[in-house]
């Protein structure tokens, strides 16, 4: 079966004949959408095929036992499962009614041990990451460290020696729990409690993989740490758990990218990311989410920021079937700052329900949210945000700007700004715009020689430029390329 798919893929790559392409796609429905979505191939799936479906106490106990975890973590997992069972499905946002929790594989072990070099990785996994361009990024020193998670576990991890010597820790969360338990006892679940929401509870019950980062006092990690998440198994649930601790006066930029094959049935990605930003530290967390359009992406991300610290979320959502994600910043110390730049693309059959939460809990705190969304081909882009200023958080300031761009008349955008202010001495700004790509703009660019889809892509690129400019160069280029792929065939 997989050989057949590999062969079909090969054929697709080498032909432009629409008849041939159609025949290959008819014979191999798994490949539907290949062409627009470049990461849609699937590897052979021995590990996934044998994995158990559904979640219960046994599954949770089994995961914990396989990982040889301390007793307290097992207890926490069990608590998470209890909350997950008890909490109703959220109905206030995107439609989640089609998620079948009993059909999902909660833990897939694809390799017995973590590789230290690319050559040590099993061939199929190595091929996957080579197609994604990860070894090049590392070789060209675009990154300070790399983590690659395949299915449930991190299969490869590397950090630069000089950073290691300075005391920077960057490893997969499972290993970190064994080697640095003190951080976990203190911080794990401290930013996002086990019962925070249904999906955070599920993550706590079945979490596996993810990154652990610790940056010691005063250390600036100048080039980004990068993580790549890949789902390969059909109906797989990926539940990585990331914990980042930036000690006083430190700086780190963490980047993650996500892809998955295209199947006929859905997968679930439900991560939890907890970030602790200590006094005067700064953390920037960048996501380019490009899951295939059969992945439910339901992620809880939150940072707690101490006095004078800064948290920046840069959140790009291009893929997935449904995304619900609202990166949050809890500003707990005076002069703490929070910033979210969010960009979302909703194409055919996609609903991007994204935004941010800013909670001001101390005086003189400031935050800003800039959200840009593009909807096309009947997709739906929603902005959902919360700005909360607690009593005594005097002289706090927040600004929210959300702009939506509609490429056609069948797509949809909506805005749900929630504001909860319990202090008089605050400054707030809120701007929201919805625009449509105008006939005049298209005509202007076309009369300058650009084909309609090129003109459209140029307008869309211009629209999200304020966010693209915040990305490292190679990610900005990647984002532009993804936009062009998205816009191809979007008109006409």
């Amino acid at each position: 079966m997989t050989e057949q798919i590999a062969k079909a893929e090969e054929t697709l790559r080498n032909t432009n004949d629409p008849g041939v392409i159609q025949k290959v796609l008819d014979d191999n429905p798994e490949l539907q959408g290949l062409g627009n979505y470049e990461y849609g191939w699937a590897d052979s799936d021995d590990a996934g095929a044998s994995a158990k479906r559904g979640v219960d106490a046994d599954v949770v106990a089994d995961i914990s036992a396989k990982k040889d975890e301390p007793e307290w973590m097992l207890k926490l997992r069990q608590k998470g499962l209890k909350y997950f069972d008890r909490k109703p499905m959220p109905t206030w946002g995107a439609d989640l009614s089609e998620i079948d929790f009993d059909n999902i594989k909660y833990f897939v072990r694809s390799t017995e041990k973590q590789a230290q070099t690319w050559e040590d990785l099993p061939e199929d996994i190595r091929n996957t990451y080579e197609k994604l361009g990860i070894p090049e990024a590392e070789r060209e020193r675009l990154v300070a460290g790399v983590a690659a998670q395949y299915e449930s576990e991190v299969v490869y991890h590397q950090i630069r020696e000089d950073l290691e010597e300075q005391g920077v820790i960057f490893m997969d969360t499972d290993t970190a729990l064994k080697e640095h338990p003190e951080f976990f006892e203190e911080y794990f679940g401290s930013v996002i409690p086990v019962g925070d929401n249904k999906f955070a509870a599920l993550n706590t019950a079945v979490w596996s993989g993810g990154s652990f980062v610790y940056v010691p006092k005063g250390v600036h990690v100048e080039i980004p740490l990068q993580a790549y998440f890949r789902i390969n198994t059909e109906n797989m649930g990926q539940f990585e758990r990331t914990l980042i601790i930036a000690d006083e006066d430190s700086y780190v930029h963490y980047i993650e990218g996500c892809t998955a094959p295209i199947y006929n049935t859905d997968s679930l990605h439900s991560a939890v990311v907890e970030i602790v930003v200590k006094k005067n530290a700064r953390v920037r967390y960048t996501t380019i989410q490009n899951w295939s359009t059969n992945v439910y992406n339901l992620v809880t991300k939150r940072a707690v920021v101490d006095e004078g610290g800064t948290m920046e979320w840069i959140d790009g959502n291009i893929g997935s079937k449904v995304t619900m994600k609202y990166p949050a910043v809890y500003l707990t110390g005076e002069h703490a700052k929070g910033e979210t730049l969010s960009v979302a693309f909703a194409g055919e059959n996609q609903h991007q329900d994204t935004g941010s939460k800013m909670v001001h809990m101390a005086p003189n705190t400031s935050s800003s949210i800039v959200s840009k969304s593009v909807a096309r081909s009947g997709g739906r882009a929603s902005y959902r945000g919360l700005v909360q200023v607690n009593a005594e958080a005097k002289n706090s300031a927040n600004s929210v700007v959300c702009d939506a761009l509609l490429v056609d008349t069948i797509s949809k955008t909506d805005t749900y700004p929630y504001i909860d202010i319990r202090e008089d001495d605050v400054t707030l700004g809120h701007e929201a715009t919805v625009s449509r790509v105008s006939e005049e703009q298209l005509f202007y660019l076309m009369s300058r020689g650009l084909a309609e889809d090129e003109a459209m892509a140029m307008i869309v690129r211009g629209f999200i430029e304020p966010i693209a400019r915040e990305l490292p160069m190679e990610y900005a280029l990647e984002l532009n390329r993804l936009i062009e792929l998205q816009m191809e065939g979007s008109v006409g």
Partner: protein, 254 residues
């Protein structure tokens, strides 16, 4: 040597009150090196003619033809018309937020020529053209037409005219909203494009003022969707003296 030939062109638009015919049989021939001026009162269909030549989707050609060197222009999309060598300097250039002039000019040049311009010579060419049109260098990094004054937008249209080197250019009221200095600078740009590229021009205007700088070979008086009279530069002088009354009276009498 190129020729744009418009024959018995009829054009309609959809309005709230139904279909309305704007152009009622326009015939014009413009060849390389020639300067044609179309003059006429408001609402006579001058801008409709300009937009139709460039392929604006709002205008429906009900009969007649437009050809460029024998090729059917009406069969072409707006981008194909640009690639074939047509250019429209617009009356109301559109803003494109987030796209710098530099990026836009290079992308458009590449699309029109079918290959990317050589980076080193292109950068210099853009810089020189901007200087000649007295466009400040920092415009290169500004977004297309965003926050530009009316005069700045028109200069940038002529900048494109000079850089893209079309065979035939249509200037839709390029003179409106220009002060006397800007009018001169813009006119010099058009004249340069004539001399250097042997461009043919169709200049649409209300006023004779710009004709002091861009000397037309032919003047066409446009009234009620048709060419009412054709002549040489002396026709413009007559319009300057007597206005459009004579032509309008003829229409209402008919």
């Amino acid at each position: 040597m190129s020729t744009l030939e418009i024959k018995d062109l009829h054009v309609s638009i959809e309005t709230d009150q139904g279909t309305k015919e704007i152009l009622k049989g326009v015939s014009l021939t413009i060849s390389s090196g020639e300067k044609h001026a179309i003059m006429g009162p408001n609402g006579s269909g001058k801008s409709t003619l300009a937009s139709t030549i460039a392929g604006h989707p709002r205008y429906e050609v009900t009969s007649g033809s437009i050809t460029l060197d024998g090729e059917d222009v009406l069969e072409m999309e707006p981008d194909e018309r640009a690639q074939a060598g047509l250019f429209l300097a617009m009356q109301y250039p559109v803003e494109v937020p987030g796209v710098t002039m530099t990026n836009f000019l290079r992308t458009a040049k590449t699309a029109i020529d079918g290959e990317a311009p050589k980076l080193r010579t292109w950068t210099k060419e853009v810089k020189d053209a901007m200087e000649k049109l007295r466009i400040d260098a920092d415009f290169a990094n500004r977004n297309v037409n965003e926050g530009f004054s009316g005069g700045e937008k028109k200069r940038v249209e002529i900048l494109q005219l000079e850089l893209f080197k079309p065979k035939i250019a249509v200037l839709d009221e390029t003179d409106s909203g220009l002060d006397i200095d800007a009018l001169r600078v813009v006119s010099e740009g058009v004249n340069r494009a004539h001399e250097e590229n042997n461009m043919g021009t169709l200049l649409i205007t209300h006023y004779t003022r710009i004709l002091n700088y861009i000397k037309p070979d032919y003047v066409h008086v446009f009234v009620d969707g048709k060419v009412a009279e054709q002549g040489g530069p002396e026709l413009a002088d007559e319009l300057e003296a007597n206005g459009y009354d004579r032509f309008l009276a003829a229409v209402s009498a008919a």
